[in-house]
Symmetry: D2
């Protein structure tokens, strides 16, 4: 249940209203907009009398929640959530500009990371991606550089001005990763790792939450809800392909998830065409499709020499291929009423 109040509700009435609600067994969550205050009721709402609450002074309306998620729902917040990337220009994700994060699957060494970072920046990427802690299906595969990889990412950030997104897998590493990165990624395998979601719910960094391998759209939103319930409402959702019977592609990009999510939630939605298809030749068409379907951004694997990559070489683009993708993407962004370049930037991308 969500209680929406009129603009000028006195604080004393608001306090009394929350006390009234909490005595009936729910927790309350207050969200202040410019012209109204929204009080979300969380937990077992069966003891609440919606009719009685709607007659309180200053209460404009009482809305039952038709979804299992609340904080993530459009009913709770109609306006889109804008997520600042953390760069000097103050770029935000969720606005008109399409945001593209690009970089290697794994941070391998300083030289390749810097080469990639400069390259993707030149082609219009707004953010650098790169894995320091790598979840690997086999314990015998390369597991990432760990802390050293974080330091290299911070160096690349300093050198290029690109904010950095990287994965965190262990709740004990959340503070450490948050010190080095601008955005923390929760990987698909950890979408329902609740202790980890709780930890990233406590930090002051936006979270990139990837959809689990066979998670429903509702489960993705509930995973976001786990983070938001701890206080961190800057969650970016990422569709990255789901597991199906089809073997021609690594996963099946659920492109319909984009418009479904945009309708259900105020959170921004981006797409990972690299993991979705698992093939370099599919990255561009899937990226175009994602933007056409309404995505707010992309996250793309780029490697200077994919044939030498320690992980995910098959699906990584060369810098040249990434440049070509970005040039073609501009037209699709425009058709979608979006733009690929910052408002104040001339058309180096094109």
């Amino acid at each position: 249940m969500i209680v929406i109040t009129e603009a000028g509700i006195p604080q004393s009435i608001l306090d009394a209203l929350r006390e009234h609600l909490e005595e009936r067994g729910v927790r309350t969550h207050v969200s202040r907009g410019t012209d109204r205050v929204v009080v979300g009721c969380i937990g077992d709402t069966s003891q609440l009398d919606a009719g009685a609450v709607s007659r309180w002074p200053g209460v404009a309306s009482v809305v039952p929640v038709r979804t299992p998620y609340r904080l993530a729902s459009r009913e709770f917040r109609a306006a889109p959530t804008l997520v600042p990337l953390g760069d000097a220009a103050g770029t935000t994700l969720g606005e008109q500009r399409i945001v593209v994060a690009a970089g290697p699957c794994s941070v391998e060494n300083a030289a390749m990371l810097l080469e990639t970072a400069h390259g993707v920046r030149e082609h219009g990427a707004a953010m650098l991606r790169g894995g320091a802690f790598k979840p690997r299906t086999s314990p015998w595969a390369f597991q990432g550089l760990g802390v050293q990889g974080l330091a290299l990412l911070a160096d690349a950030r300093a050198a290029t001005g690109l904010p950095v997104v990287t994965e965190v897998m262990d709740p004990r590493h959340v503070d450490l990763v948050a010190e080095h990165a601008d955005m923390l990624q929760i990987g698909a395998r950890n979408m329902q790792n609740y202790p980890l979601l709780a930890e990233v719910g406590r930090v002051r960094r936006p979270i990139l939450l990837k959809r689990g391998l066979s998670a429903t759209i509702t489960e993705l939103l509930l995973a976001a809800e786990h983070i938001m319930a701890r206080g961190n409402e800057l969650v970016v959702l990422c569709e990255r392909g789901i597991r199906t019977y089809e073997t021609a592609t690594r996963n099946t990009l659920d492109v319909a998830a984009i418009p479904v999510l945009k309708r259900e939630t105020h959170l921004p939605v981006i797409v990972d065409p690299s993991h979705a298809g698992g093939r370099a030749d599919l990255v561009a068409p899937l990226a175009f499709a994602a933007i056409a379907a309404g995505a707010d951004g992309l996250i793309i694997e780029v490697h200077p020499r994919p044939g030498e990559a320690l992980s995910d070489g098959d699906q990584s683009l060369t810098l040249d291929a990434f440049g070509a993708l970005m040039r073609s993407l501009a037209g699709f962004a425009e058709a979608a009423g979006r733009t690929l370049v910052p408002a104040n930037r001339t058309t180096r991308v094109a």
Copy 2:
């Protein structure tokens, strides 16, 4: 195995080559291009000696086939197959122009069909779709008007000039449907109905072959191969969503199937965003995504009053919504290097 000959190979040598091959247990299939002749070897090729064949006079090269399909493969025919729609203007599917077929799920009566046909034509549709024979999961649901529906489609064709595509389910109805329609549709449930595929392989009409509910891309191409092996090489492939665990949508549009198919086959590829999502609000974004990913066309359910439709009302667009979709689609078509209107037509669509 595919044998590619030089341009001026004498007929006598070609005949001898085929005899040589067929004596070793395969059937041969000859395809003449402007500057070469391609001889496909079908069946058990284990007794063939590729090296020996490559030394025949006039033989340019011998290509082993790496795919289970042959006639449908890019190796067999590199150039895209162009499928004529059958209209007076000579429109073909598979060229630069994006072709949109639109119309009701079921033909319900003459008035609604004519109203829809005129409406979709006005908004830029190149073809009219409509079901006369309807496959329905329940035997107690409306099964279509049958022969009467075919006559109404022919009437709508005469009134609007739009060529007609409609489904055939029964091998005994193939000739009848071919008399009334310009293109015959094989529905998803019948993708592996081999007697039906064999029958439509014998008619002189293009075939719209929809991907089965959980068919792989390879199986879709093998179903096309069943048709082509009987002599009808005008097959249009249709991605219409596959069955997954996700319940927010009726099916999951496998948008990656489009570029995968375009790489594997010379046959044109269209998308049915209506069945893929199963929701009217998803038709436009899925249509945009399909064109962005490289589809050659779309097939869309439109009904003057979806709330009164006898089938699939939830996923049908109104005529107004279809018009809006077509106007927005033009930008995505342009970004994809395609066009939505015929070359000789002014911009009534915009």
Copy 3:
């Protein structure tokens, strides 16, 4: 809606009741039990007044149908349907005895078929399976012996006394196959081939209906309903594995479908462990699991020399392996309160 009448309802009242119902737009279907008559109302029941009907003389109760299928539902017929196999002993499927059909994937020639038929009979099979018309994913693969295969099956039947089940794919072949076989199989690819279902709904032979590759349990029951609605109520349902992402097995045996189906329908349920797993080493454990879960029978691929089989060699059992399976199966049948041998037969099986 189903109307259940008292035992002695006069025919005149029954006739009047049906006329009353049909005037309101439904078709009626009458099923006579020993102590009551059940009238099923098929089609749009919205114009019926259940309360009024329940007050007719001789009407015991009026049951709304909660499932999309009616004739196949437990509400329509509570007692299990018993399906006669057509052998001299009058064996029926759906009773205490577990019925095992066994034989080759394809009928290849007279010698191998007779060798297999005698062998499986010796080990306790009650029925011979074998494909004459084979649905094959590729048009270039062996398609079966066709009419000649039917004749060989009839010969094997005459030689061994085993009734025969074989697949029919084409509605134009239904009468022909019905002349040669005791039970007609609808393969997984044709589960929703409605013209074919309609044709087999008209013959006087039991139908073995295999679940489609990704059909839901409800869709399987609705496919049975298509057959039953035409008058043939002797339908045997077959779980044969569904398509999932798992690649260790050809399909995933949905063993839970067995108890779900037994609860939903009065029709007998058998399992095909050969196609479910696609591996000879999995046939026995899957067969044991199927019987443990409540299946009424099994259909198993057996070939004298699987390495030489023209199709499905990987999943075919040798005769020895089939014999071993049957010996072990007896214990599981007993634990399930069933038996593997006819009542009047001594324990040659064990």
Copy 4:
């Protein structure tokens, strides 16, 4: 690569062999059997010369590993791994006796837990299950009693003698849970939570590893490998249903995974029929099927009053229903060549 040595290989040669191997870039893992020593080579084996190694003194054979997992493979250890439950009687999982763990989904309070523990023990359960830390899809649902729940489980263990299995979700809780429980469960959502797998790889407790919602069998074995690579080789695998499109059941029990796993690995395999079906009426048939297919045990949700359960009430059995299941299960265990009761116990179960 796995090096198998003869029985009496001197320690000095073994040490030299390991040094030789590790100099070429692999880690080695030594496993001592009664009559041989097995040296597993972990990591990049491309620099090893198998032929040269096979000629070392005392080396019996060198086996290339055909699977991505090594420690979990049958090649690495042919004999079944026996997992001690930790009870006074010294029961082990993986032997002839079928082991059944039973108990509530969540520990709710002392009274219900004790009632359940005594009840399931009376009916033949060898182990008590119960959740203290509960992974819940929604952050607003009951999350378990946490530490208090662990204490209640330890109390129930003391009162009944039943060893306890409970889930751990947070790597920081592993030591705490290991103090209270005899076996630690990794839930399906955490099957690829690598920091958690690493932590439980370090404790001296057997691990119950549940298959992820859409994990392949290979991925399940690789998750076990993550635990074993840290030193804990007592891993029990649990098939608990996979996610498919079918909606009649909560998940689809992949019963074929049991024989596939038994062939691939030496680790014991149990089945959770409660989560697989998600319906109380399906627990018994799925349990029977699991044992028929070769499972070593079961884990079943039992609640004294399922209608009052705080979680998973729909799939919990009453104590009476659990007793009935155990009585019927004995026959299936016997047919599988197993037993449901300890060797030294009279037939209270029957």
